[in-house]
């Protein structure tokens, strides 16, 4: 077992002697620097380095590796605990409040003394500039390529205004209590660094120059996060160095250097870890788990707000219109068996969020494996082994965040057979499935399917619940693919959106979640646990119940 062995280099003996002598001389010159430099090498699942200009692409893996380490946002997720839900805490904003009279106006107080990596101050001007980069088409720094991944995650944010150097007013298009949560996705890039790139850029029009400036900024960015970018090789590696002047003393990095490498193929990542090329891999190949642990590496996992469900159709003629059928399906999936199939790398869901989460509530419907109850419900609904219920699910063979869609769906298919379900699959390409999601169950693209299998992030209330149950989110507006909804749910959504006190908002969201679980517009099949494998050299690893993880607090032997 030699997980940290270095690759051998058959250099000639004289060269080795020369190298040894040079090393010795260097060591005499700077013994501390050489002895203590700690480099953490990470293999990501992404095929390219997520964008480094402030608003990462590649979903939440982008936020995890080129968002949170390099940049700060006004609010952030608490990633310091593994045994409690990750909650919202202050970041660049020390406090925030909604206007008592006009609930579309928010005041954010900024943290004093924060500086970008290029030394420029992070003040109200910088925040307004960063809001305008995605919302104000007339602003010189407006960048269409950042709009999609930003504006959709804060759909009600309209504008920003400086009140004083350390106070900003944000305006929303309607009263929206979710804004502080949404703002975890707005990362602050340095306006002065961008301006330097803009001044040096060439282009026929200011828009062309701005585009070139953003490209240059992405290769040499400046944020205010715990790590700063030192080297960028497109599609190959991103090197980060510790930002020792980071404002949060608890998160000043102990690791000197982080190297991020895109490796989309699971076996390649596993081989790179076993071969000592990297110290950390995301999503190791499931069948390699035993080998990885046998070789002394550690597997980290925790329940993630990452839901892997069947989203059901409520269009006319759908077999899921009967609540008994929906609940029966939820009771008939052998999740424990599926967990074994995945080598333990899933959590068994009790709803969209897990019990203990502030939004879980008190559902009366308990999602568990109970074939007899499921069969009884199906019998009541008029189905039997001789007269099974035909359902058709649109799925993909692979896809970002889709875990192992084929074996998992086939397992669910077999499981549901014992409760008189005859499940058929319409397997289509991932991007097509993803695009069809916005078209809805009534669109020809559904191809007669009455359920769809697309996993989703449940970090914030809009992503986790609202977009699937609000009647305002019917296709093509958002992801209520199945046209689920009623006046009661809409009222619960409105209550949550207009509850500006954190506790009241969480209570309203708990009522919404409770209603959703009891009414079962999904078959909740699995929650992802975000497995990652690391060298035993990496210490102080906290894998929170989140899509994200804090590299800044880790150490290395």
């Amino acid at each position: 077992m030699r997980p940290t062995r270095q690759l051998t280099s058959p250099l000639p003996r004289r060269a080795c002697l020369g190298l040894a002598l040079a090393s010795a001389l260097c060591a005499i010159g700077s013994p501390a620097a050489l002895a203590q430099e700690k480099t953490l090498r990470i293999a990501m699942t992404a095929a390219d380095i997520p964008r480094t200009l402030g608003q990462p692409d590649q979903g939440f893996e982008g936020n995890r590796f080129t968002g949170i380490p390099i940049y700060d946002s006004l609010t952030q997720w608490d990633l310091s605990k593994a045994d409690a839900p990750s909650v919202l805490i202050p970041a660049l904003a020390t406090s925030w409040a909604v206007d008592a009279k006009d609930k579309t106006k928010w005041t954010f107080k900024l943290r004093p003394g924060v500086k970008f990596h290029d030394g420029a101050p992070l003040n109200a001007d910088a925040v307004v500039w960063n809001v305008n980069k995605v919302l104000d088409k007339e602003a010189p720094q407006f960048d269409a390529s950042q709009v999609g991944v930003t504006a959709s995650r804060m759909p009600t944010l309209k504008s920003a205004r400086k009140l004083d150097d350390l106070t900003v007013e944000l305006t929303t298009s309607e009263p929206d209590a979710f804004l502080p949560i949404n703002l975890t996705n707005l990362f602050m890039a340095s306006p002065s660094q961008w301006q330097k790139k803009f001044d040096a850029a060439t282009g026929a029009t200011p828009a062309d120059k701005a585009k070139a400036a953003w490209t240059a900024f992405a290769a040499d960015p400046s944020g205010s996060g715990p790590f700063r970018v030192t080297r960028f090789v497109a599609r190959e590696r991103l090197e980060l160095a510790a930002h020792k002047g980071y404002w949060d003393t608890k998160r000043v990095p102990k690791i000197d250097k982080v190297v991020l490498m895109p490796m989309p193929e699971a076996n390649a990542r596993t081989a790179a870890l076993l071969g000592g090329q990297v110290d950390w891999i995301e999503a190791p190949a499931p069948d390699a788990m035993p080998q990885i642990t046998q070789r002394g590496f550690k597997i980290y996992s925790n329940a993630q707000p990452h839901v892997w469900p069947w989203q059901l159709s409520f269009a006319e003629g759908s077999p899921w219109l009967d609540k008994r059928v929906r609940q029966a399906a939820n009771l008939c999936v052998d999740r424990d068996g599926m967990k074994q199939l995945l080598g333990g790398m899933m959590a068994e869901p009790k709803g969209t969020v897990p019990p203990g989460h502030p939004w879980f509530g008190k559902p009366t419907f308990d999602i568990h494996y109970d074939v007899k109850s499921a069969q009884a419900l199906m019998t009541q609904a008029g189905y039997s082994a001789a007269k099974p219920l035909k359902v058709k699910v649109q799925i993909s063979a692979s896809g970002s965040g889709q875990m192992q869609p084929l074996p998992m769906n086939e397992f669910a298919q077999q499981s549901l057979k014992q409760c008189f379900f005859d499940v058929q699959f319409d397997v289509i390409e991932w991007n097509t499935l993803f695009t069809n999601w916005r078209k809805g169950a009534k669109d020809p693209s559904a191809n007669g399917a009455n359920a769809v299998n697309i996993s989703f992030a449940a970090m914030d209330p809009f992503f986790a619940m609202v977009r699937f149950v609000s009647t305002k989110a019917f296709p093509p507006v958002s992801n209520n693919w199945g046209y689920y909804g009623n006046a009661e749910v809409d009222k619960l959504v409105a209550d949550a959106r207009t509850s500006f006190d954190d506790k009241t908002r969480d209570a309203a969201l708990a009522r919404l979640h409770q209603y959703i679980v009891d009414d079962a517009p999904f078959v909740w099949i699995a929650h992802d646990v975000g497995p990652r494998a690391m060298s035993p050299k990496v210490k102080n690893v906290v894998q929170p119940r989140s899509w994200f993880i804090d590299i800044a607090t880790m150490t290395m032997d």
Binding site: R2, R5, L7, T8, S9, P10, L11, A43, A47, D48, R51, D57, A144, S145, V147, G148, V149, A151, S152, R153, P155, K211, W214, T215, A218, V233, A234, R235, E236, R237, M261, P262, M263, P264, E265, N267, A268, T270, A271, A272, L274, G275, G276, Q277, E429, W430, N431, T432, F434, T435, W437, R438, I454, F462, F463, R467, P476, V477, S478, N479
Partner: protein, 339 residues
């Protein structure tokens, strides 16, 4: 160009094809032929990527983006225009060296493609050289010692080369030499990335496994071709004549090589062309940042400008390589008259 007629009635070009004026005319004609091919390739590749289902803005537009936001981005990226309009604009810009910007990375496609091409070229040239050398060796041995155990062994190796799935072979090599023995790195194009490439062992060790994996198909194809050529040449009368003149095995071998070279070279050129396209599977298995890796990424991110630009450049390379092989063949074998 005039034509002279032999006593047997066979026509020959009156000028040697290697004469500068003839060669220039030939080159110009071949380039002229290549232009409509390129335009056709551009049209096919544009149509293929546009008729594929899915949204071209999927990498920058989450599924829950509002309808207004979708429309706004379509307009900003020019996808609201008609397909003919988009095609003409793309071809016009491409003719000026501008392949557009990648939707996903916001970097110029031309830069992305050229970096990937240089990485693939490095791998493909080494793999082709390896495949060609081994293929020729196995082919000559098998052909020269027909029906012997050496022939059977060499033929078996060449059949294995074309039959074994190369991505599988790549994974097996990685398991043995990287994961288990830890002799060679499993992924990447150098300890510090491909932009710091140097022809030293620290970098070459990254090339060993992908190059071996990539070389097995050309090795098999070249070996089979060369074996057939050698068998054919050995049956010809001039070999008997050479033997009758008392030439040594080495001298006969030299004649044989000269006769087999043009066809073997053509096969190798085609193989190099295929390998220059990059192998999506091999480059993905080894995370080698070449054109195959780039295509894989562009396909999964549905990055249309990057996909179109990469395919166009690769097709251009293929056409140019074919042209180069034709010219080399003409130079090597005067019998091939490209009149």
């Amino acid at each position: 160009m005039g034509v002279r007629r032999s006593r047997m009635g066979v026509s020959y070009p009156s000028q040697h094809p290697c004469q500068p004026t003839t060669m220039l005319a030939y080159l110009l004609r071949r380039i002229a032929y290549a232009l409509p091919i390129m335009l056709g390739v551009a049209l096919v590749c544009f149509l293929l990527v546009h008729i594929a289902p899915g949204d071209p803005l999927v990498s920058v537009l989450p599924a829950d983006a509002s309808v207004e936001l979708q429309a706004q981005l379509r307009e900003l990226y020019g996808f609201n225009r008609s397909l003919p309009e988009q095609f003409v604009m793309w071809v016009w810009r491409a003719m000026h060296g501008d392949l557009g910007m990648s939707i996903a990375s916001n970097r110029p496609v031309a830069t992305e493609v050229m970096v990937a091409v240089s990485n693939t070229l490095r791998l493909a040239v080494v793999a082709t050289a390896l495949g060609f050398l081994l293929g020729c060796l196995f082919g000559f041995v098998a052909g020269y010692f027909r029906h012997s155990w050496l022939d059977r062994l060499a033929s078996m190796l060449s059949v294995l080369g074309v039959s074994v799935p190369h991505y599988w072979l790549g994974m097996v090599l990685v398991i043995i030499f990287s994961s288990q023995l830890m002799w060679l790195p499993a992924t990447g194009a150098g300890p510090g990335g491909s932009d710091e490439w140097a022809w030293n062992w620290a970098h070459l060790q990254h090339l060993v496994l992908p190059a071996i994996t990539m070389s097995v198909i050309p090795m098999g194809i070249v070996a089979r071709t060369v074996r057939a050529l050698v068998s054919d040449i050995l049956d010809q009368e001039f070999i008997v004549g050479l033997r009758a003149k008392g030439l040594t095995h080495l001298d006969i071998f030299r004649h044989m090589v000269k006769n087999a070279a043009p066809t073997a070279l053509a096969v190798m050129g085609l193989q190099l062309g295929y390998l220059l396209g990059g192998s999506i599977l091999i480059e993905t298995v080894f995370s080698w940042p070449g054109t195959g890796f780039l295509l894989n990424s562009a396909i999964f991110q549905r990055d249309l400008p990057l996909l179109q630009g990469t395919i166009l450049v690769l097709a251009l390379f293929f056409v140019l390589l074919n042209l180069l092989v034709d010219v080399l063949q003409t130079l090597l074998d005067p019998r091939i008259a490209r009149a």
